[in-house]
Amino acid sequence: MYAYDEIDRTLVNERVSEFRDQVQRRLSGELTEDEFKMLRLQNGVYLQLHAYMFRVAIPYGTLASNQLRQLAHVARKYDRGYGHFTTRQNIQFNWIKLSDLPDALADLAEVGIHAMQTSGNNMRNVTSDQWAGVAPGEIEDPRIWSELIRQHTTLHPEFSFLPRKFKIAITASDHDRAAIKVHDIGLRLIKNEKGETGFEVLVGGGLGRTPFIGKTIKHFVHGRDLLSYIEAILRVYNQYGRRDNIYKARIKILVHELGIEKFSREVEEEWQHIRNSSLQIDDEVIEDIRSRFIYPAYEKLPHMPDELRQAAADPDFEAWRKNSVTSHKNPGYSIVTISLKPIGAPPGDATAEQMDALADLADKYSFGEIRVGHEQNLALPHVAKRDLPALWKALDKLGLATPNVNLITDIIACPGLDYCSLANARSIPIAQELTRRFANHELANLIGRLHINISGCINACGHHHVGHIGILGVEKNGEEVYQITIGGRADENAALGNLIGPGVKFDEVADVVEDIVEAYLALRERPEELFVDTVKRLGVEPFKERVYATR
C-alpha cells in the first residue's frame, strides 16, 4: 500500500483546516447554502433525505488496517456504528452532523485518509482493480499510476469546476475488474513492442440517464505522457463540455455530439502543445512513487499445505473456499474476497465491530492490507494458504463468510429511496428480498455467475445498465415501477442490457427475476454457459415470453 510522506500529510491537513473554516462560515451564516453546497460537495458531503451523508475516499480501493480501524472509529463516534462501501471503492456514512464533520476529517487525516473530490463536478476518486498488485498475469501494478493520477487530480487549479463529475479507472489485467469502459476516462495498462509501459485510453463511457460504452481515443499513450494526455482531454472538456443542461454535461455527451474522430483531433492538437512540458513524467518520479508502495515480504510456502488438505473435509469450508478464494500471483498465497452481502441485509454495509475485527484479521493474515472492490465487497489480498481455514472460522463468526461472491445474491445496489434525495424508488428492500429468494446456496451455485444491479433512479448509481440483470426503479403516477434489463456487463466485453418489457410493480420484481432465472436454467446449453452468455446467444425474446406470458 502507499505510505504518505510529509508532503502528502501536509496537504491533507491543510485541506481539513480549510474545510473547518468553511463549515464555521456556514454555521455563522457568512456563507449561503448555495455557496456552501459546492464547498461541502468538494469534500464529499451530501445533504440526503434524513441527514448529511459523508463519503470518504479510498483511492484505488487500497486500505491499511489502521485506516480501516479509523473508519470504524468514525462510524462509532460520529455516525450510527456502520458504514456503507460504494461502487467507487469509497465508504459512506449516512447520519453525520455538519458540526462534527471537521473533527471526523481531522481524525481520518491522522491515518492519511481524506474525502477530497468524492463528490462535486471535479475529478473523482481514481479507481482500479481491487486485485491490483496480486492478480496472476497482471502486467504491472496499476496503483503506481493510480496514485500518480490521484496526486495530479487533487485540488487541480484548472479542473475543479468542470461541467460535471469526471471519473477515471485503470486496469492492468486482461480481465477488467475496474469497469474501465463505463468511465469518463478508462485506462488499460499495456506494453509496446519495446516493452515500455503505456496505456490504451478510452473516453466517454458512463452510465446515468444516457449510458455509453467508452471508445478508444488512442491505442498507446506512453507512460511518460499520461498526465499531459489526460490534461489535454480535460482541457477540451472544460472548455467545450455543455454547461446549459446538467443531464448533457458529462464528457460522454461531448464525445457523442462531436464524434470520436473530431473529439480526438481536438485532444491531439491540445496535447501537442503540452506533451513536452513539465507534465512529462520521468522514470525517477515513477520510481519515487513506487518506492512508497509497501509490498509484503512473502515467504516460500507450499501450494497445498496440510491445513488446507485437512479442512477440505468440511463442506462448509469448501463451499466458501471454492466461492471466495482466488489465485494469487504467489502460489503459496490466495486472495480472499469478503462478501458484504449476507442474506437479507443491505448490500455493502459493514459495522464498526466488523471493520475493527477485519483490521485485526488483516494484520494477522494479510500483511495489514484490505481492498475494496466496486462490487461493494472487501478483500484480503495476501493470505497464506495454510491460514485459510483459520481465517474462514474467524470470518464466519463475524458474519463475513457468506459464500456468494459473484453469485445471484451478490447484488450491487444504490441506497435508493431509503436514504437518497434523488431516488424515485427503493433499492435496498428489492435486494434484500432477492437475497432471501435465492438464499439456498446450492441453488445459487447451480445458477452460477450472475450479477444483479439495482438503481433507485436513472442516475444509475447501482450500475443497472451493466448488470447481467439490471433493475431500475422509477416513479410512475406516484407508484414505484421497476424496469428490467438483461445482458449487460461491465468487464472487458462491456455491454448495455436490453429491456425485457414493460415495468413491473415493487411486489413483482422478485417474481420476475425468478422467472428470468428459471428460463435461463431451461435454456442454457450446458451448466457452464453463464446467464449472460445465454442471453447473448438467444437475445431477449425467450426471456420476455417467459416473464410476460402469465402477466
Binding site: D5, I7, L11, S160, F161, S277, V285, D288
Partner: protein, 171 residues
C-alpha cells in the same frame, strides 16, 4: 466591489464600458471583447490604458495579436461553478506568455482564490468585502501543490526529487 491586486485592496483605475457607452476622452478603460475587436485600432490609439473583458465561451486565441498592447485581460466567472476561465487564464499565461494584469471578475469568492492564483490570475474583483479582506490569509492556506502550472510554485513531485538528491549528496 473591492479589487485586490498584489495581495492588497486597491482602487480600480479602470472604468468599465458597455458595448454602447460613449468613449471617454482619456483615462483607463475596460471594454467588452466584441467592442474591442470591432474597433481595436482606434481604441489602442487613445491615450490611457486599455483592458478587455473576455467572455468564457470565446476562443482566447483571438486576443493573441493584441496581447502586447493591452494592460488588463478580465476573464469572467458568471458563476463560481463555471470553470472555463481557469483554462483561458492558463493559456494566456503559459501558452501566449501574457504578462499584463489578469483579472478575475464575476462571482469571485474566497474559496476560489488559490485555484485562481495558480491558474495565473493576479487581480480579483471580489464579490464580498470580507473575502477581499481575507485575501492574504487565504492565499497562504496551502503550501503543497501537486500540479505544475505557470505560477512557478514548486510541485510535490519536484520537491520530492530535490529531497532525494540532497539526501543523496553525502552518501
Amino acid at each position: 466591489m473591492p479589487l485586490v491586486n498584489g495581495g492588497k485592496i486597491v482602487a480600480d483605475g479602470f472604468v468599465k464600458l458597455a458595448v454602447d457607452t460613449p468613449l471617454p476622452e482619456g483615462g483607463d478603460i475596460l471594454v467588452p471583447a466584441e467592442r474591442f475587436l470591432s474597433d481595436a485600432d482606434a481604441l489602442l490609439k487613445r491615450s490611457g490604458k486599455i483592458g478587455v473583458i473576455w467572455p468564457n465561451n470565446r476562443d482566447i486565441a483571438e486576443l493573441v495579436p493584441y496581447l502586447g498592447k493591452i494592460a488588463v485581460v478580465a476573464l469572467v466567472f458568471p458563476s463560481f461553478r463555471d470553470g472555463r476561465a481557469y483554462s483561458q487564464a492558463r493559456l494566456l499565461r503559459e501558452r501566449y506568455n501574457y504578462r499584463g494584469e489578469l483579472r478575475a471578475t464575476g462571482q469571485v469568492l474566497r474559496d476560489q482564490f488559490v485555484f485562481m492564483l495558480r491558474a495565473g490570475f493576479d487581480s480579483f474583483e471580489v464579490k464580498k468585502q470580507a473575502d477581499a479582506e481575507a485575501f492574504m490569509q487565504t492565499a497562504k492556506r496551502y503550501s503543497v501543490f501537486y500540479q505544475p502550472t505557470g505560477d512557478g510554485r514548486i510541485t510535490a513531485l519536484h520537491r520530492r526529487m530535490q529531497l532525494r538528491h540532497s539526501e543523496g549528496v553525502g552518501t
